[in-house]
């Protein structure tokens, strides 16, 4: 019998990444979500016709390595920038890459208006319930009881207010055609999230309107947990409120 043949079934780097090196923390969920995004773009054959708009957060470091034409937006402003790009390039695929601080704090208005307008772009939210980049402070998506630098004892509704469950909120807007929330908690979650990512971009390609993929990502640094406990801490906190699933599909 001849030797068995090896087939590569998983590249080290997704097609659209110039390098896998980055200085995000160990156990960070953001690069995992990034792979999902890039693989989807490549698999849908959109590599050469995509423009991305990147917000400001830890993920901003990927601006240097994403092999996609990019516009670096200011903190919170990516959906409007994406609108301008899409209006001038209606045949291209346009996405944003934002964090919860970027999208739900500083830029809440931008994403809601973009969604209500039914703008035919795809926003990708990396939701870790903290401003990772500034050192792990509470954001508008941090859930009650969640530990952050500004809520070391856990977020307290009376003192800090309540989280905004952004995916659900956006799903209520008529202009939103697709909303899905996944996570990178496990390989299974990654696979499910990837299906959502694909649907979101297909929604854009079918010109059905606004799409959002929210990905819950681990931030062991901001949550003050060991990297290995990131996924389970997410499951006990963020994922209890920002519940996973397809929230809207048109």
């Amino acid at each position: 019998m001849n030797e068995p043949v090896l087939h590569r079934v998983g590249d080290k780097l997704p097609l659209l990444l110039q390098s896998g090196e980055h200085d995000l923390c160990p156990g960070c969920g953001e690069p995992v979500a990034l792979r999902i995004l890039l693989e989807t773009i490549a698999e849908l054959g959109m590599a050469a016709s995509t423009v991305g708009v990147v917000g400001i957060g830890c993920y901003t470091v990927f601006s240097r390595t994403l092999d996609v034409d990019l516009v670096q937006a200011l903190h919170g402003r990516a959906p409007s920038v994406a609108t301008g790009v899409k209006r001038m390039l209606p045949d291209k695929t346009v996405f944003t890459l934002q964090g919860d601080g970027d999208m739900v704090n500083e830029g809440l208005q931008e994403v809601l208006h973009t969604a209500a307008r039914g703008e035919n772009v795809t926003c990708v939210l990396l939701n870790n319930g903290v401003f990772g980049e500034t050192g792990g402070h509470m954001t508008a998506t941090s859930v009650i009881g969640q530990r952050t630098k500004t809520s070391l004892e856990g977020r307290d509704a009376d003192y800090h207010g309540y989280p905004i469950v952004i995916g659900d909120l956006i799903a209520r807007l008529e202009g939103a055609a697709y909303v899905g929330r996944g996570s990178v908690q496990s390989a299974g979650a990654v696979a499910r999230t990837k299906r959502m990512m694909r649907k979101a971009f297909e929604t854009q390609r079918a010109a059905k309107g606004f799409s959002l993929v929210e990905v819950l990502t681990m931030c062991p640094t901001g949550w003050f947990v060991p990297t290995a406990e990131g996924p389970s801490y997410m499951g006990e906190t963020l994922a209890q409120v920002h519940m996973m699933g397809e929230l809207k599909a048109r």
């Binding site: 090896l6 780097l13 792979r35 390989a187 990654v190 062991p220």
Partner: protein, 90 residues
Amino acid sequence: MAHGAGVSETVLVRGTVRIDTEACKGCDLCIPACPPEVLVMSTDVNQTGYRYPELLAGCTGCRACLDVCPDFCFEVFKYDRPIEVAVERR
């Protein structure tokens, strides 16, 4: 243990991975992600000081490890047909 060490067994192997141990930041996320539990953390550390995963026999080439690794450390391969590998009994 009842069975003495060094007793050899056969394991069915459908795939394998190449691990960029120098890129690894030792986050441990790949370990529980691997369905057949064939990844274990090293005792050694890499140049940056992190422990990294090592592959035992029995990989299925499912790419779960690749999918969850934040540092792009894995490359995953599948054999066109399973092979049998003899391993020391753990």
